[in-house]
């Protein structure tokens, strides 16, 4: 299949960026990133600069790939990262627009690559259980209800990709942050630090320049792991309760 690509090119964080047009010949069995590999291979053959994009596992689990495809973070398929999207979902002759995540808190490194270290800093502010190695009791000492463990697991499947932020008109990181908070808060091991954690992480999120939540819900729609919106509501309840009891 023959495709036209409109790809965002930007030399570095401060440079101006703009769209460039490319043509590429793809095969329906290729993954989307393999299609970009083919494009780059062709550019290199002509001693031209390839398009920079981030990726690693190509299995939908590391959270590195981060492309806005035709206006949608990770492209058109529900519950699918860009690396797991295959070209059979496109048609011969299609024009595809490819952009980086766009959010204040994620500056562009180059072309389609962004800096998402703000997420790490949110975790640093409290996204952990304060337990040193060697202090743990037996793993079966505290039984945890299967469904509760399951719910914690669901929240913990977030891959930290940032599509939720890119999807949100306000650039909010609520879905990511609430998923982490609820993962830990649902488990007895994480409950101990619950109030402190939620306050610190929410405040850090604001400080990093992520926007507010105005209940648009786009984050959940574009999230490749289908992290639930209820996480946000639960986090908000926790946050206000913690703030109230602190006063």
């Amino acid at each position: 299949m023959k495709l036209k690509l409109k790809i965002w090119k930007q030399k570095n964080q401060t440079a101006e960026g703009k769209f460039h047009d490319y043509n590429v010949e793809a095969d329906e069995h290729m993954s989307f990133l393999e299609m970009l590999d083919v494009l780059n291979e062709g550019l290199l053959e002509n001693q031209q600069e390839p398009v920079a994009f981030d990726h690693d596992c190509r299995e939908g689990i590391c959270g590195t790939c981060s492309l806005v495809i035709n206006g949608r973070p990770h492209g058109p398929m529900q519950g699918t990262t860009a690396c797991q999207l295959h070209m059979r979902h496109f048609k011969d002759g299609d024009t595809i627009t490819i952009e980086p995540w766009r959010a204040n808190a994620f500056p562009i490194v180059k072309d389609l690559v962004t800096d998402r270290s703000a997420f790490d800093r949110i975790i640093q502010s409290g996204g952990f259980v304060s337990v040193n190695t060697g202090q743990a009791m037996d793993g079966n000492a505290i039984p945890i209800e299967k469904d509760v463990a399951g719910e914690a697991f669901e929240a913990a499947t977030c891959i930290g990709c940032g599509a939720c932020v890119a999807a949100c008109p306000n650039g909010s990181a609520m879905l990511f942050t609430s998923a982490k908070i609820n993962h830990l808060d649902l488990l007895p091991q994480g409950k101990v630090e619950s109030s402190k954690r939620v306050v610190k992480m929410v405040e850090k999120m604001d400080e990093e320049g992520f926007g507010n939540c105005s209940n648009v819900g786009a984050c959940h729609v574009e999230c490749p792991k289908e992290i639930k919106l209820e996480n946000i509501a639960r986090m908000n309840r926790k946050y206000f309760a913690a703030k109230l009891s602190a006063k």
């Binding site: 797991q84 490194v109 259980v129 913990a156």
Partner: protein, 664 residues
């Protein structure tokens, strides 16, 4: 060179406890003055960095990824072993030890493996305390499942995302230490050289991948936890960025590469679909519990399938060759990974491969669907259910067990595996070989340590499923925090070396020279194209089966390819920018040397064991022929541009008897 394993004296089961109680310690006030470099933030690196920081050391930690959480460990699916015996099914530390030694085809060090089995139980406790959401039973206790090559149920898991959950746990512990100021974290920093001062590892040279700055970093010692080198084959189940550079730089500075030819080829991966293929996707080992592997008996059926005139479903039962069940009636589809992979290769070599390229076999769930369907119908009290009803019920059961894997398969191939048998083929998955380390996980270079998949220590010639995660976390949480003191207790009077020392300047210059060389070459071929060609050579001559003639030819081809690379590679852009092509060039250059050493190692080892199959050494039935009298040693390679040299560590078995593995 004499290699000292430094295994402590005493009975096997008491060595570690005894050793720990007598080991040199570093007092808390001194720990505050000592700094440690940890390269890598996978399970091994993140667990080591966070634990060392908790103990009071000043840790500097590096990853080429944009966040520690993205290390390749994140992709592990199936689970992690531990000798908890929660199932009351006869598991014990000794049994885990024995299974690992046997599974490794008797080519690993007894004392290291026993220690691994001992600390395995602490890992689970630690992870639970961190909030790792392992799978649980209705009673609220931890669940287990079984993996290949063992008879107990000791694998802990978090659905198909165990690696992700364990890594997030270790990452959170690491982020906590970062917030406390005990770990200085360097994301998107790639180690490009190791620096020795007076013969000890004292620092590294890194490149900041965002702006190209070449930096010098010094410390009292250096810990490498930089993962495996499976990507030397170009196509593997490893993440795209996984590479050997850090380990290889250590080898260039005098460390040794142990058993580099021991590669694990995983039998169940999605086959290659075209020339553009960039990586291969694993389908978990657990599928072989219910999937039956087969190829058609008749070549005319094979032809019809390849031409798209027939599908697997059109081949009647009598015309199918369930070759694993036929050849290994005792273990059937659940033979170990190395055996299953070779059998698939044999079937395809004989012309029975079932896709266009001829490199695929079927993994078929139709029998399981019917079997489960009948049981379900029975338990629902349905008499004489229709075949459609049975299939419907059976499909539901299979979906509950393997749903996410089936979905992944369908996303990639576009075929529905509930309706058509899956097509699978073996792929490179894991490297048992790695940097040589002693019992302390220290290399032969004082002050240089290696953990996780980057070392060679515990899996011999074949790794059992769910044991890599266990080893990575054992090394990082429970071994290195103790053994590093043996070295550092001798360093308390020394300051962190200055990065102005000539050794740093020289290493930095080497890094810059190499980068400039790549950038100024302006050749005609991309880095990727060289990597792909290297992978083909490795797969052809040093892959699932090897012979002397092919290995010699492969070596020659690699040397020629390396020359060509340094004449004709094209790397665009400059050093002073984000430049993925330059990153790749640095990595592929090292793979081009490693590949040669792997081939030499495979040539040297004139026997077949575990993942290493030399065609000249097989039984009449085509099974691996181990030669314990000559080859019960670790082959540790010293690099040399002309003729790399091998050093040997004899393996002494005091506790287990060496036996031939049989799965018939």
């Amino acid at each position: 060179m004499k290699l000292h394993s430094n295994v402590p004296e005493g009975p096997l089961a008491e060595k570690w406890t005894e050793y720990k109680s007598k080991m040199n310690l570093v007092a808390p006030n001194n720990k505050r003055r000592i700094s440690v470099i940890v390269v890598g933030t996978g399970l091994a690196g993140a667990s080591a960095a966070s634990t060392l920081a908790e103990l009071g050391y000043n840790v500097k930690c590096y990853t080429f990824h944009d966040s520690p959480r993205r290390a390749h460990s994140i992709a592990a699916q199936g689970g992690i072993n531990a000798a908890k015996n929660y199932q009351n099914d006869g598991d014990s530390v000794y049994r885990l030890f024995y299974d690992t030694i046997k599974g490794g085809d008797y080519r690993s060090r007894e004392a290291n493996v026993h220690r691994l089995a001992e600390v395995s139980t602490d890992i689970i406790d630690q992870c639970v305390a961190q909030g790792v959401p392992f799978a649980r039973e209705y009673g609220g206790l931890l669940a287990n499942r079984s993996f290949g090559g063992v008879q107990v149920s000791r694998t802990f898991y978090a659905r198909g995302q165990t690696g992700q959950q364990l890594l997030i746990g270790a990452y959170q512990a690491l982020e906590r230490q970062i917030s406390l100021g005990k770990v200085e974290m360097y994301n998107r920093h790639e180690m490009l050289d190791l620096v020795l001062v007076d013969g000890k590892a004292r620092g590294i040279i890194t490149r900041n991948l965002i702006n190209g700055e070449i930096e010098r970093h010094s410390a009292h010692c250096v810990v490498l936890a930089t993962g495996g080198y499976g990507n030397v084959f170009y196509l593997s189940t490893n993440a795209m960025g996984s590479n050997v550079t850090a380990a290889w730089k250590a080898v260039k500075k005098g460390a040794l590469m142990a058993n580099p030819c021991f590669t694990q080829i995983h039998p169940t991966c999605i086959p290659v679909s075209g020339n553009y293929q960039s990586k291969l996707t694993l389908m978990s080992e657990s599928l072989r519990n219910d999937g039956r592997v087969w190829v058609p008996k008749k070549l005319e059926d094979v032809k019809a399938i390849r031409e798209g005139k027939k599908t697997g479903n059109d081949i009647p039962e009598v015309d199918r060759d369930y070759y694993l069940e036929r050849r290994y009636p005792a273990f059937g589809n659940l033979v170990p990974r190395d055996v299953a992979s070779r059998a698939a290769k044999t079937a395809c070599d004989e012309g029975y491969g079932v896709n266009k390229t001829g490199l695929a076999v079927y993994l078929d769930f139709s029998s399981a669907i019917i079997r489960y369907g009948k049981t379900e119908a029975h338990s629902l009290g349905l008499h004489n259910p229709s075949e459609a009803k049975i299939k419907e019920l059976g499909t539901k059961v299979v979906e509950a067990k393997y749903g996410n894997l089936f979905e992944m398969y369908e996303k990639i191939t576009g075929e529905n595996p509930y309706k058509l048998p899956m097509k699978i083929y073996p792929a490179v998955h894991y490297t048992m070989g790695g940097v040589w380390v002693d019992y302390n996980l220290q290399t032969n270079v004082p002050g240089l340590f290696s953990l996780g998949e980057s070392n060679f220590s515990d899996h011999g010639a074949n790794r059992l499923g769910a044991s890599a995660l266990m080893q990575g976390l054992a090394d990082g949480y429970f071994v290195i925090p103790y053994t590093i003191g043996q070295f550092l207790s001798g360093e308390i009077r020394n300051d962190v070396p200055s990065t102005d020392l000539p050794a740093f300047a020289e290493a930095e210059k080497n890094v810059r020279d190499r980068i400039n060389k790549f950038l100024s070459m302006k050749g005609g071929q991309s880095v990727e194209s060289f990597h792909r060609r290297l992978g083909k050579i490795m797969w052809e001559y040093c892959g699932m089966s090897r012979n002397a003639e092919g290995l010699k030819k492969g070596r020659q081809m690699i040397r020629e390819l390396r020359d060509e690379f340094y004449r004709d590679v094209f790397v665009p852009g400059t050093n002073e920018e984000y430049n993925p092509e330059l990153e790749k060039a640095n990595r592929v250059a090292d793979f081009l040397e490693l590949g040669e050493v792997m081939i030499l190692d495979a040539l040297d080892r004139e026997e077949s064991c575990g993942g290493h199959f030399r065609e000249e050494y097989q039984t009449e039935e085509g099974e691996a022929l181990r030669r314990d009298d000559v080859f019960t040693y670790v082959a540790a390679w010293e690099w040399d541009d002309e003729e790399p040299k091998v050093h040997k560590e004899e393996l002494v078995y005091e506790n287990v008897e060496l036996k031939t593995r049989s799965y018939k």
